[in-house]
């Protein structure tokens, strides 16, 4: 047991240590300060900006920035859509996948899912998309979607600190050229060295060990470079169907460590970027520590649940064994629990174990993580959400000091409350609970598979079935992308159409409505005159306030989803006991 906790502690220590470096670097990049890569990148970006016509870097307001996000994302969808729909005509197709490998609704879902940085997959990569579709099509989405998130976070921070939002196209380009590309290059080589394949050759056909007369095709592909940006960009869309549980996507403990650290680094770093740009590193550390404490608490809960295992099975065994169902033995309970908590907390959505098989207590944590979206949250958007929560906390409790609530000296008024509460309170119930309730009410649409003696519908009945449906929409709404399985959401199940289309709507609303609200919020804040801090001002850079913010975050998160959590994982936990 101790070994497991030590593994967890080392991983957490590592990213806590490097996140200020990442954050500081990102702050330098986006404030136009000198960085190491300037000699190479300045001319390169010069060419890109000249060709794309943003050489003068015109400042954008909230609406313009939002429109630029939408235009660029739609353009990416069209481009990648052309690749996916015509993959049979394109090169690098060693398995000869034809155009019927993926139906139109699956491709549509894939496009929306990848462009929103969600990477919810209603398919298995190796049997659906060609190498070209994966590395050129989905690979492009990996960069664009997470660079969009980073750009939005930077614009948001600029706005909060009273600066103009900047130019989306410049931010998008620099997020790719200065952050994602260099890190992916280094990380890809490390991944390669750690044992991941990087090849364009087709699957290897080998006889099985048990029976030499039976042969087995082992899928390969250009995995190493795909894997690093999958984690670093919190995309989470696996090259193979089983994602990071696959030995080629995550061969050993070292790659597992690297993957976990990669998925947290940018989100955790952005909190420090905020500290540097707001010129208040102390406040950044308080907020960072608040997130860290909640995150560690969640990791501990998931870890204990997995370590203690299933009571019924332990009873049969006569000994206490961790829950290893659906887990890779090379990772064990500790690295699986840590991966689970991190991937659901960061909106990465990669998985190194079957989430469907985790203990109800861990499932509770996974769901709660996605409801909150801030532990450490999605690439860029997570940090923005975090500060939107801080603004909401300032408003909810700030009146209690007898002043109009203000954050960084800017008054929080009707507009800010409308946008923050829309963003944090209203979007999730609308896109999770409403489609969830519809699906639960019309199971014949959701899945027309009859399990005899059980409920006609979703593969699992009862509490776990409820969790699966809610998890699917939560994962889509929070742009996480992991799944619980147990749903007829991929072809050839006829119900895949319903899941693909309903998830498309949830994905898009869950991504773009909050981004719009965040940008408008930041835009409004940037135009406000800042009021100097006095002892009568509510200070947001104190332990007390960090505690208050944590309370608001947990209560607001819990209030909306109490009934679902009670009848889903909580009821399941009592049933398992």
């Amino acid at each position: 047991m101790l070994q497991g906790w030590i593994q967890i502690a080392i991983t957490i220590t590592l990213f806590v240590a490097i996140s200020p470096l990442f954050g500081g670097y990102m702050a330098r990049v986006f404030q136009g300060q000198r960085t190491l890569l300037d000699p190479v990148l300045n001319p390169l970006e010069g060419v890109i900006f000249t060709l794309s016509g943003v050489r003068d870097r015109p400042e954008m307001n909230g609406w313009q920035y939002t429109r630029a996000v939408l235009y660029s994302n739609i353009a990416a969808c069209i481009l990648v859509g052309l690749i996916l729909f015509n993959q049979a005509l394109l090169p690098f197709n060693p398995t000869h996948l034809n155009s019927s490998a993926a139906t139109w609704d699956t491709i549509l879902h894939t496009l929306v899912s990848f462009v929103t940085n969600t990477d919810q997959q209603h398919y298995s990569g190796e049997s659906t998309y060609t190498y070209f579709s994966q590395f050129a099509g989905l690979g492009l989405m990996f960069f664009i979607s997470c660079a969009t998130g980073i750009a939005v976070a930077i614009a948001f921070i600029r706005g909060l600190t009273g600066r103009p939002l900047g130019n989306f196209y410049v931010d998008l380009t620099q997020a790719i050229t200065r952050i994602l590309l260099p890190m992916s290059l280094v990380g890809g080589v490390v991944m390669l060295a750690a044992g991941m394949p990087e090849t364009l050759a087709g699957p290897v056909v080998v006889p099985t060990l048990e029976n030499p007369h039976i042969s087995q095709a082992i899928a390969l592909g250009p995995v190493a470079h795909f894997e690093i940006i999958k984690e670093l960009g919190q995309n989470g869309g696996g090259f193979f169907g089983v994602n990071s549980a696959h030995p080629f996507e995550n061969p050993n403990g070292f790659t597992n460590l690297l993957e976990i650290v990669s998925m947290v680094s940018i989100s955790a770093g952005l909190i420090h970027t905020y500290g540097a740009m707001a010129n208040n590193p102390k406040q950044a550390w308080y907020i960072f520590n608040m997130v860290l404490i909640i995150y560690i608490a969640f990791v501990v809960v998931a870890g204990i649940n997995e370590y203690n295992g299933i009571p019924g099975i332990n009873q049969l065994l006569g000994s206490s064994q961790p829950n290893l169902e659906g887990k890779e033995v090379r990772f064990g309970w500790a690295q699986s629990a840590l991966f689970l908590t991190t991937t659901t907390g960061t909106m990465c959505g990669a998985a190194n174990s079957a989430h469907d098989s985790v203990m109800p207590g861990s499932l509770f944590i996974a769901l709660f993580n996605m409801f909150l979206q801030i532990l450490w949250g999605g690439e860029g958007t997570g940090t923005a959400y975090l500060f939107a929560y801080v603004i909401l906390a300032v408003f909810a409790t700030g009146l209690m000091v007898g002043r109009t609530p203000e954050f960084l000296g800017r008054k929080i008024e009707q507009r800010e409350v409308v946008l923050a509460s829309l963003l944090l309170l209203l979007v999730h119930p609308i896109v999770i609970l409403i489609p969830g309730a519809i699906t639960l009410s019309f199971p014949e649409v959701a899945a027309n598979v009859t399990v005899p003696g059980f409920y006609n519908g979703i593969f699992n009945p009862g509490f776990h079935g409820l969790s699966e449906v809610i998890y699917e929409y939560t994962s889509a709404a929070a742009n996480n992308g992991s799944g619980l399985a147990g749903l007829g959401n991929s072809e050839p199940a006829p119900s895949a159409l319903w899941w693909n289309l309903s998830c498309c709507v949830v994905l898009a609303i869950g991504r773009y409505v909050p981004i719009m609200a965040l940008l408008l919020l930041a835009d409004g804040m940037s135009r406000k005159q800042s009021v100097p801090m006095t002892s009568g001002t509510l200070r947001t850079d104190t332990k007390l306030f960090a505690g208050v913010a944590a309370g608001v975050i947990l209560i607001v998160g819990a209030l909306t989803f109490f009934p679902v959590l009670a009848l889903g994982p909580v009821a399941e936990a009592f049933a398992v006991l």
């Binding site: 409790t397 409350v417 009410s441 989803f561």
Partner: protein, 713 residues
Amino acid sequence: MSNSSPSRPLHVPQGPRESRRHTPKTNFKGIYRRALGQSFVKLDPRITVRNPVMFVVWVGTIVTFLVTVNPNLFGDIQADPTEQRVLNGSITVILFFTLLFANFAEAVAEGRGKAQADSLRATRSDTIAHKVLADGTIEEVNSTQLRRGDQVQVLAGSMIPADGEVIQGIGSVDESAITGESAPVLKQPGTDIASSVTGGTKLLSDELLIRVTSDPGQGFIDRMIALVEGAKRTKTPNEIALTVLLAVLTQVFLIVVATVPAIAQFIANFISTLFSQAAANNLQAGASVAVMISLLVALIPTTIGGLLSAIGIAGMDRVAQFNVIATSGRAVEACGDVNTMILDKTGTITFGNRLADEFIPVTDVSSQTLAQVCWLASVFDDTPEGRSIRALAEKLGGAVDLDLATAEGIEFSARTRMSGTNLANGQEIRKGSVEAIKGFVRSRGGQVPDQIDPAYERVSRLGGTPLAVCRDKDIYGIIYLKDIVKPGLRERFDQLRRMGIRTIMLTGDNRITASVIAQEAGVDDFIAEATPEDKISVIRSEQSQGKLVAMTGDGTNDAPALAQANVGVAMNSGTQAAKEAANMVDLDSDPTKLIDLVAIGKQLLITRGALTTFSIANDVAKYFAIIPTIFAAAGIGALNIMGLKSAESAIIAALIYNALVIPALIPLALRGVQFRPVSANQLLQRNILIYGVGGVVAPFIAIKAIDLILPFS
């Protein structure tokens, strides 16, 4: 306004404010009885719909009433219909009372405001006014028919019919009806302050010709009446933002609750196959329409939703009780946000009446000669300062036998900064600021004696105002006008500093005097030798840094600054122009009241924030009461950590708590959360503990207690 004026007729009531008689007296009798009636009147959906949170409760009550009549209205419920009727009926009754309680809270606040307004209105009884027509004839009209610009004649012993300005005549006016000061005030035309009269006050002697300055219903009192009655109350920015948050929370819970039946049905299907049909029925009954409405009402922020308007009205009411007329709720809230307070030295920080304490000779004149010159310089000066100089001079044997008719008084002006007397024999006697007198003497070809500067500095170091006196080209000496800092101010400025408010003292005095007084009073900053233009430029420069500025003023030349300031409080003794530029008028004309207004503004915001936090924090306990008991069949009974007896008991207990907490908090809403002048962090710590943590814990205890009392099994 320039404080260098040695002759400023500012009347400042003295003595502790608490001991001052506050008129008008407000009659609170019968408020509760009337509020009870109003609670029912306010059930009118056209009124309820204005408050989204309570409107949801209103609709919920109708629906639960319908399912009391027919429990199976929205689909069959597999439970005993009688039991269902009892449960649904109980829910209906409690929801109805929740509405009544919320209405009652608002009605009580309005009632108190009305009572306040009535007593204000009492000063406003219709009178017959003598309107002077264009051709000079006089017509008797009702005072309500007077329009701005009309001229009226007021005779001794009659009421002044409207707010106005004296344009002719001199008379003494009893203003006790609005200020509580019994001493009559002299009113005459032309003077800055003494020319303004307020409707409802009584002319005691002589007769005045007055130009009406406000239309009926537009006077200060009328505006205040409209505000405290709540009729014209527009929501303040903070209140709007809060209403938005509450509306969003209500929508969130609507979605949450609306989706629960589908989830419960899904689980019930599972339970019926796995366990028993009875358990499934139980689960379905737990998601019945009446129960879901109960859950919804328990979750939406009814506590703050029901008390929000009462808090706002009560805030205005508290201002009115302080004898301050506010022209908008926004102004009261802005008080809480004030960063900088600009205070006049004279009358605000020091007692207004500076008194002559000593005559200091600067040449080798006898003290009697000096006293005579001082007496002569002040013989036409009827300000308290002038009178005190004469009194001191007479004590020193300086009285001169003088026929006033042969002499000419020279009035003080802000430009010359001196006043004095021209005698029949051509002598020019002047007193005024030391610089001005030096200039005067030099212009007459005289010498400035060397001793003047040490004397000037000595007086300044003592915090006094030095005035030089001269006769023709000779300076005779310095008059030491003693200024006394009001007691207890230092503490109040310390409190303000802890609240994060910077105080700036403005004075026409020289730098040394100003710094001595500033240090003695404990203000953060001061501006000496200030002109009226300085005042407005200080306000502008503070505002350009994003600060909110509060100030008091009374003179016409204060009007631009009062208008520029975020909170401008005019003294009732001030001119009409000042009062119109300000957003508050202090009927007691007590400039230090600004400090209390800040506390009231903060208290208003704190009360709103505290009850919002409390209301939202309550939801945790309500969830833990209702969800585990109504869905106990799903095996989550262990979440019922309060050990409530049954689903029925839990729902009713949660709803009773939800309803009762509104009247329980009415006193707090009306009185306001206690405000302490400490730093924001200390306030947050204290209030989050009481209303946040307390808001989580309290309902657990209360709901458990109600559950124990309830007769359900």
